[in-house]
């Protein structure tokens, strides 16, 4: 093919690319997306099964899943105890959360867990048709906060895990009740920024999601490293995300987000 012909073809393809990326919310492309996902769902199912079998063998033995869930449950209970000690009323409202909040929790099956350029994500098998939309919050069965819905297709949704590199969320620390910004560092770690030097921060303090109304204490993680300020006026604090999205089969999407 002559270079002139190639250049013309390149221009046409470039235009197509532009359409594909910048106007991909069109009905045709949404349909293609839905069809392609429906077509490869069985393959994703097989991949998940293979991955789960191999992870049991190599990671923590045959009881890995139950141990992780037990660990999460214990940490959640620990947070609840701390909240009671601080005479916080919010915990009582957790049990009547659904009645109080008026929020609806929608269960969704996890199709795939993946990582892409520093960001960890979940692909859910529920989307706009099920009332899920961008920005909805996602939790697991133990009320551990997983992340937010980044994109909702017709039959699927993509959830970015909160501790992914570059993600930021407002969190509340317990028992200090301090609200700070948590930056995702990847590998289930957070950097908590701008904690004043006069605050009392200890290893093991709980990190909760700071909701706008302040009454839905979803656990995110716990502080694992606190460096008292020397020259700086702020603490350098790191926390871990206790959610284990790679082992989740089902999550709950809160709509609308609190």
């Amino acid at each position: 093919m002559a270079w002139r012909g190639k250049s013309t073809l390149f221009l046409v393809i470039a235009l197509l690319l532009g359409l594909l990326i910048f106007f991909n919310d069109s009905a045709i492309l949404r349909r293609v997306q839905t069809m392609s996902l429906a077509a490869i769902k069985p393959l994703i199912g097989i991949i998940n099964q293979v991955r789960r079998i191999s992870s049991r063998e190599t990671l923590t033995g045959t009881e890995a899943d139950s141990l992780i869930r037990e660990n999460q449950r214990l940490k959640t209970e620990n947070v609840e105890v701390k909240k009671l000690q601080a005479e916080n009323e919010a915990l009582k409202k957790v049990f009547s959360f659904r009645q109080d909040s008026g929020l609806t929790l929608k269960g969704a099956r996890v199709l795939l867990h993946g990582r892409e350029a520093g960001r960890e994500f979940l692909l859910l098998d529920a989307g706009r048709n099920d009332g899920i939309s961008q920005g909805d919050l996602v939790i697991d069965e133990n009320r551990v906060f997983i992340g937010t819905v980044r994109e909702a297709g017709d039959i699927s949704a993509k959830v970015v895990v909160a501790s992914s590199f570059g993600e930021s969320i407002e969190v509340e620390l317990l028992p200090s009740r301090l609200r700070v910004l948590a930056k995702g560092l990847g590998s289930h770690a957070f950097l908590l920024e701008l904690i004043p030097a006069d605050e009392i921060i200890r290893r093991g303090d709980a990190v909760l999601l700071a909701s706008s109304k302040g009454r839905y204490p979803f656990v995110i993680g716990e502080i694992v490293q606190e460096k008292p300020p020397s020259a700086s006026a702020f603490y350098e604090v790191r926390a871990i995300h206790i959610a284990r999205p790679e082992f989740l089969n089902q999550v709950f999407v809160m709509h609308p987000a609190p």
Partner: protein, 168 residues
């Protein structure tokens, strides 16, 4: 037979990357095994066939990607042209070694384009784009490492399979 092998190679690469890629990720960048295999297979086919495979593979990857639908398709189409340009530059384009080097160059471009196109498409669609330039350094380094390892592996496997089938 050649096409059956190519499809098996691609399906295997997709399966391995999606199932175990996250576990062996380097600086949070999973090995682009599917992309590298596709670039390797691009080398010996014409442009129109390359574009067909690029669209098919792109739709497949877009279905399981975090980025906006169409990002991978766009990248694979660009790589189809990139292969054409590379074949024009190299004097011994048919050599097995040249094919490996071309795949390595394509792999570097592929990994970096994912980040660039991913961010661009997300920005255009009004999705939150955490621009973290320091991370690009990690991505570039990871792309270099994968560009050495994966084409070597693919070239070796293809060569070994070629020898095996010649004997059979």
């Amino acid at each position: 037979m050649k096409y059956v092998l190519a499809i098996c190679f691609l399906a295997g690469a997709f399966f391995i990357e999606i199932a175990w890629g996250s576990r062996i990720a380097l600086w949070e960048v999973r090995p682009p095994l599917f992309g590298a295999t596709l670039i390797f297979l691009f080398w010996n086919i014409g442009l129109s066939r390359r574009l067909f495979w690029a669209i098919l593979a792109g739709v497949l990857m877009d279905s399981v990607s975090l980025y906006v639908f169409g990002t991978y398709t766009a990248i694979f189409i660009i790589l189809a042209f990139f292969t054409e340009i590379l074949r024009g530059i190299f004097s011994h384009a048919e050599s097995f070694m040249t094919r490996g080097v071309g795949t390595a160059m394509g792999t570097i471009l592929f990994v970096n384009l994912i980040l660039f196109f991913g961010w661009t498409a997300d920005y255009v669609h009004g999705l939150p784009v955490p621009v973290y330039w320091e991370f690009w350094g990690h991505v570039f380094l990871a792309s270099l490492v994968w560009a050495v390892l994966l084409p070597t592996l693919i070239t070796f496997l293809t060569g070994a399979l070629g020898l095996l089938f010649k004997r059979v």
